[in-house]
């Protein structure tokens, strides 16, 4: 059996090396596309925040009039250049709004994770706390996210007032109070979903391992912390990536409580230029870029933490 295990090991190693050549091209292309996409976005943020170091704030790096000139002169493919001109004209404003989408997603998923881990653990291992966890999770998963945001924003006006009263909110780099309320809403909601993914992962760790941890003298909490969770979180990566990708797109619901994120920005511009379809397609391209990045990033994380026998992030 030892030989057999060693044999498969060598096989898979040489197999992955052979594939590496092929994958290298694809991986390189992905990295290049990612670098271009995010390089452009970061340059735009830098430009607009600093009041325009490269070009005036919210103006394209390449003037759209350049494409318009071509579009007018070329008969057949002129339409494509017209579309490019449109994209270059409005993308800067959308990228500016994309900042809030990224902030909403990253902060909410991270804070939600901090809540989700104890929530999941207490659902599996707790007694009274298990019921509290179940109640919380079912309440948050069983009601619409938009309704939750409305309750926080319109139902608790003191919450909005509190954030507005904090120094610096809505000025400079700090976003307005509605963003804080949205982060709370997304965090509480995402924690419930993340907890369920993590609970499933906890339950897939063989229970004998916790018994073994206890038999060595570790407490229950230590056993969960050092034996169960390191494995469960690896198992949870694929499901958790799902939640991350959802949250990127669900952050658009913040538009309904006045947060000027990507979706709302696209809608605002469209209501003045009446090109709704084009604006939403442009916004969709940006969402897609973020989602693909998130997926690739989590696959990378899964590969980095993979352990023989426990394949986080693989098989997706």
């Amino acid at each position: 059996m030892a030989e057999r295990a060693a044999g498969t090991d060598a096989d898979s190693a040489s197999g992955s090396r052979a594939r590496f050549g092929d994958r290298d091209v694809g991986t390189l292309a992905t990295y290049l596309a990612g670098a271009l996409f995010w390089g452009w976005i970061f340059l735009r943020w830098l430009n607009d925040w600093s009041g325009g170091v490269f070009v005036p704030a919210r103006q394209a790096f390449v003037p759209p009039s350049l494409f318009r000139g071509v579009a007018a002169g070329v008969p057949v493919v002129g339409g494509a250049f017209e579309a490019l001109a449109f994209a270059f004209e409005y993308a800067p404003a959308l990228v500016n709004a994309l900042w809030l989408t990224v902030v909403l997603t990253v902060v909410s998923i991270a804070l939600g994770f901090v809540i989700a881990v104890p929530l999941a653990a207490s659902r599996v291992y707790g007694r009274v706390s298990a019921w509290v966890s179940v109640a919380y999770i079912e309440l948050l998963r069983g009601t619409p996210l938009l309704a939750q945001l409305f309750v926080l924003y319109y139902g608790f006006p003191w919450l909005t007032r509190f954030f507005r009263g904090l120094p610096g909110v809505g000025q400079g780099v700090l976003p307005g109070q509605a963003v804080f309320v949205a982060v709370i809403g997304f965090t509480l909601n995402s924690a419930a979903y993340q907890a369920e993914y993590i609970r499933g992962a906890i339950e897939s760790v063989a229970p004998g391992q916790l018994v073994a941890a206890r038999s060595v003298g570790l407490s229950r909490v230590e056993g969960v912390r050092f034996v169960v969770l390191p494995q469960a979180l690896r198992y949870a990566i694929p499901g958790w990536t799902n939640e991350l990708v959802y949250l990127v797109k669900y952050s658009s619901l913040a538009a309904f409580i006045t947060v000027p994120e990507l979706f709302r920005a696209a809608q605002n511009i469209a209501s003045s230029n009446y090109r709704y379809t084009s604006m939403f397609v442009l916004a969709a391209v940006l969402y897609l870029g973020v989602v693909v990045t998130a997926t690739n990033l989590m696959e990378y994380v899964g590969r980095r933490v993979a352990v023989p026998g426990i394949s986080g992030g693989e098989g997706r």
Partner: protein, 256 residues
């Protein structure tokens, strides 16, 4: 109690142990003593309470009646984590921590329970793995090891805590026949070095050669308890004879 036993108390004293799951009585007044360096083998039909008895000793399972004392101290007066540090346990399904290498499996308890530094723990872990013949597999993950190797890591993990007593819960039952010998060999070495061991096993070759005593448990009662020669040659109960005969024909092979 000191008036009854002027000498040292037994390493392990199990007194009138009762345990039930719901309506089912699993242990019905089991009593026995173990001295240091004893190797006691516990046999009995499945469901006779052997595993439950082991788990009562390190309090992985609580019991309804009776007393268990380790080195004269009642276990219910001890901190349960401290008790378990002093009583090593080896499982049928190995139960290695799947995300940790062999070395780190052994190191976890050393670091978190015994408070060793990383360097101390690592040195000790390598020593224990060497002892079970796996010094060269220290950086392998459980999934990369054979069943016999995994079980030996499990033994090293328990030994690293410097236990006074080792509990073996059918350590070879999940192994392919050709891998049983390497695990029994390690257990034999341990016995030779004077480790006190309480083993649930069907390996009659091991029981005959290594055990100081064999206990036959059936229906939650300790039917018979004595040295291997007595139980194999002159059992007092017909049931003991029948059971040992059948076990010997099934598991009498001399693996180690």
């Amino acid at each position: 109690m000191s008036s009854e036993s002027p000498s040292d108390p037994p390493l392990l004293r199990v007194e009138d142990l009762y345990k039930r799951y719901g309506d089912e009585e699993v242990l019905n007044g089991v009593s026995f003593d173990m001295d240091a360096q004893d190797v006691q083998v516990l046999v009995g039909p499945s469901g006779s309470g052997k595993s439950t008895l082991l788990r009562c000793v390190n309090r992985l399972t609580e019991f309804e009646g009776g007393r268990i004392a380790l080195d004269g101290t009642p276990t219910d007066e001890m901190d349960e984590n401290d008790l378990r540090r002093q009583v090593g346990m080896v499982f049928q399904d190995f139960n290695l921590f799947a995300h940790l290498t062999a070395k780190r499996n052994v190191m976890l308890g050393l670091r978190r329970v015994r408070g060793h530094s990383k360097e101390e723990a690592e040195a000790r872990a390598l020593e224990e793995l060497e002892q079970v013949g796996l010094g060269d597999q220290a950086d392998s993950y459980p999934a990369e090891l054979s069943g016999g190797q995994q079980q030996r890591v499990g033994i090293a993990r328990a030994l690293a805590m410097d236990p006074k007593l080792m509990l073996f819960d059918e350590p070879t039952s999940a192994l392919d026949p050709e891998l049983i010998g390497e695990v029994l060999g390690v257990m034999r070495d341990l016995a030779d070095q004077g480790m006190t061991m309480l083993c649930v096993t069907h390996e009659m070759g091991f029981a005959r050669q290594v055990a100081t005593d064999i206990m036959f448990l059936e229906g939650g009662h300790l039917v018979e308890h004595g040295p291997p020669e007595q139980l194999f040659e002159n059992p007092r109960h017909e049931r003991t004879a029948q059971f040992l005969d059948r076990l010997t024909s099934l598991h009498g092979g001399d693996h180690g």
